[in-house]
Symmetry: C2
Subunit: 543 residues, 2 copies
Amino acid sequence: MGMANQVWLYDTTLRDGAQREGIALSLEDKLKIAHQLDRLGIPFIEGGWPGANPKDVQFFWKLQEEPLTQAEIVAFCSTRRPNITPDKDRMLQAILAAGTRWVTIFGKSWDLHVTEGLKTTLEENLAMISDTIEYLRSQGRQVIYDAEHWFDGYKANPDYALETLKAAKNAGAVWLVLCDTNGGTLPQEVNAIVKEVVNSLDIDPNGEGFPKLGIHPHNDSGTAVANGLAGVVEGVRMVQGTMNGYGERCGNANLCTLIPNLQLKMGYHCLSEGQLTQLTQTSRLISEIVNLAPDDHAPFVGRSAFAHKGGIHVSAVQKNPLTYEHIQPEKIGNERRIVISDQSGLSNVLSKAKTFGIELDKGDIICREILERIKTLEHEGYQFEAAEASFELLMRQALGQRKTMFQLKGFQVHCDMLQGEGTPYSNALATIKVTVNGEDKLEVAEGNGPVAALDSALRKALVNFYPEIAEFHLTDYKVRILDGGSGTSSRTRVLVESSNGKQRWTTLGVSPNILEASYQAVVEGIEYGLLLGTKVKEPVELS
Amino acid sequence: MGMANQVWLYDTTLRDGAQREGIALSLEDKLKIAHQLDRLGIPFIEGGWPGANPKDVQFFWKLQEEPLTQAEIVAFCSTRRPNITPDKDRMLQAILAAGTRWVTIFGKSWDLHVTEGLKTTLEENLAMISDTIEYLRSQGRQVIYDAEHWFDGYKANPDYALETLKAAKNAGAVWLVLCDTNGGTLPQEVNAIVKEVVNSLDIDPNGEGFPKLGIHPHNDSGTAVANGLAGVVEGVRMVQGTMNGYGERCGNANLCTLIPNLQLKMGYHCLSEGQLTQLTQTSRLISEIVNLAPDDHAPFVGRSAFAHKGGIHVSAVQKNPLTYEHIQPEKIGNERRIVISDQSGLSNVLSKAKTFGIELDKGDIICREILERIKTLEHEGYQFEAAEASFELLMRQALGQRKTMFQLKGFQVHCDMLQGEGTPYSNALATIKVTVNGEDKLEVAEGNGPVAALDSALRKALVNFYPEIAEFHLTDYKVRILDGGSGTSSRTRVLVESSNGKQRWTTLGVSPNILEASYQAVVEGIEYGLLLGTKVKEPVELS
């Protein structure tokens, strides 16, 4: 079972992660995530609680049809209910029906939860732990035992808490996992308490032999990752966490942070080097699947994790990355970024230009002009950090390299909504007038809403001149209000992501009128797509 | 200088925090934040680097006019440049002109940064540290010495790194602050290295005497908070961090997490009990000032930090909060929340109803109906987690308690944009028809954009019937695209926050047409405001 310095990762994104407010996973989402995690090389993937949730039953069936290639998929369940035998417990029958080789069983460690929550005796709880594990083993399952509320239970009644773990050990659990269910434990407490467990249960502090120890931290004290590391320092060899730290309340331990810390800094083995380079991409894919914006500031995998802003700093990091970066971003598949902002110096503008394939000279007056223009626009609410395509257009304009592909004369948008006795009727219509190649084009189109109608009318007007437009489509559309305080009269910033099927790029528009801001962003999106087509060099993948 | 178990907080939101991508602070913003932090009871507030930034010069001038009540405002600067005397250093003159009693000077600890970055000798760097501190002391300043890149410097060359600290100590710095500038250090390393510093520099490990130790962690390894705590365990008595963890790349140590850990869990004194209850509010106010959405999942102060989702769990937490909450949320001014989601059980619906002052019985068939209705709407893209006012309206409708205050017949929105030779012209016009008290009202209004025009027309139609509408205004307007993949044809979810000057409430609308979704949310906002006015009991502050 692995090498001496291995730490086994146990992902619970599909169960604990899905408890995060705002996440609602479909069966399809769950399957996609499981396959992503399998590809990344996570050895244990908790799939759900089949007894508690019909969607999870289906999930395990589906995985029997299309099994994972390497990972063990794990079904989750509580110990048997009080005062029945395991074979009579509906939940335990459901976990067996899931057909996995590994199962995770959680039981109570905290006396208070036994007597007040389960309303049973401390002795019966010990029997529930032993019986359940023995029964599942008799059915050919390998058992991971999750000691719920372990740290709080230990603090309240250490002797009893240790007895529950001993019951699990004696019944033959392969892993004993110490859960910080309420997330209130600090790293120094983890150090001390894991030490006690290692001594009392005669666990090998180097992680050899069985049972082995695991840890399951929550982030309510902001120390979930540190708690995981503290556990490993004391002999724990399994860390349970979630991708991007998703989870109830403040989340679970973030595997995207734990893995590089364990592997690149503490010398443990979690993934192969090649798998590790997939970490950033997997993190972002999963955030797409769960439909949450990725955290740009996440350690290691965030878009800003290796972003450099200040001027002096930027020149230094380019000379010797070691001076300003704690690890090489490539090792985890992330990259260094130079940020454009109102604190930008010339060196940032130069480096950014370079990534667009534009060579500028520091002495060139055009550089200062670009900087001034950025500052003015940012003052008006433009923000180029997330809209690099608009930024490139701005640069090319300053350099006289921006080709006018068409000119807007005007547009009209008309929306109707009727609610009478009959079915409600709603319609959006856009009329647009543009000049292309000296020719005036007037077009009209309908859409689900006013922005879709505008987008559609514009394409109609341009597609005969630029046939490649037929391939472009909008892949994301985001709206941000700039000064929330003034409600619907506020200025609106619209970001539009477009795609030509191969690349994606983001453009922006700002206006008090949401339709005008949208229109600006849509137009720049089309213009940038056309520009990409004319670039000779291999175009850069823009985020 | 304080009591024996005091940990001094040092906030650098205004300098290091402002380095976060997406933050751009005006002078006004900076002043507001400084006063908020002063009110919270932070003893040291770093205001900026007056030598490097003209805005910061103005900031310190302004604070001389309107000084803080309790906090020390601190000016930040590097040591003198190589090979000049401090009195000739323009930056140091600027820091003196800032007129603060305390100054923070940062210097190099890492030999590599001295020879490659500053291009000077290791000896000259020691002289730069001593000279600068002595000079500033001769000008009546108290000096905090920030040892930049301390941990990396110590790992590379411990002897030299310690010499730099000794130079600062001998020159009379009051505080020696160990900075983890690149954020790559793990808590167990902090423990070991701080221990070394305490021994080598003869620091009192209980934090008595001078100099005292501070720590300045960054979050690139996801352990900034844990690193701060590890420092304190070993004798550190100042923690430098930022509100909400703002800062470059992955942020700085989050004071909103550090403070409750230190004070409620580790027994140190940071703030008075009363000040501590202001923590959540201050965190949210500052996120408003910097114009970033608050992190709902932030430990302690996040909106979800004490949110409970699962059904069984919810009944348990109401019986005995200790079983599922690591601290009492009231201590830091946060509150317990019961979340409505598609995983909601009946008990969630009941608890939520209770917070609206609606008593429901579990056996009541209406409960199941509400649950079914929520599930259907959530499937369509509605999400009530952030729109509790809309949720209350839904409940009251199911109970037959929703009064029809007006009926929409229809609306038309017309937007014009003309771009010709002259000034671009843009206009938004909305026509609306509603029935109020059996009377048809047709109204028209203009606005900056189509949503503002719609809002305005609706008010015009209703204000004679419901004069209190004149007091209502929209305080926030958010748009989220539900299925990003289909661009502008996607369904749109609009959240509208309204206020009557005393309370705020949030309503939502969903539609493929952004104007229709906006209209739904605006209408429910007005309806809910009217409902609040009719409530007999003290109305609940809704978030």
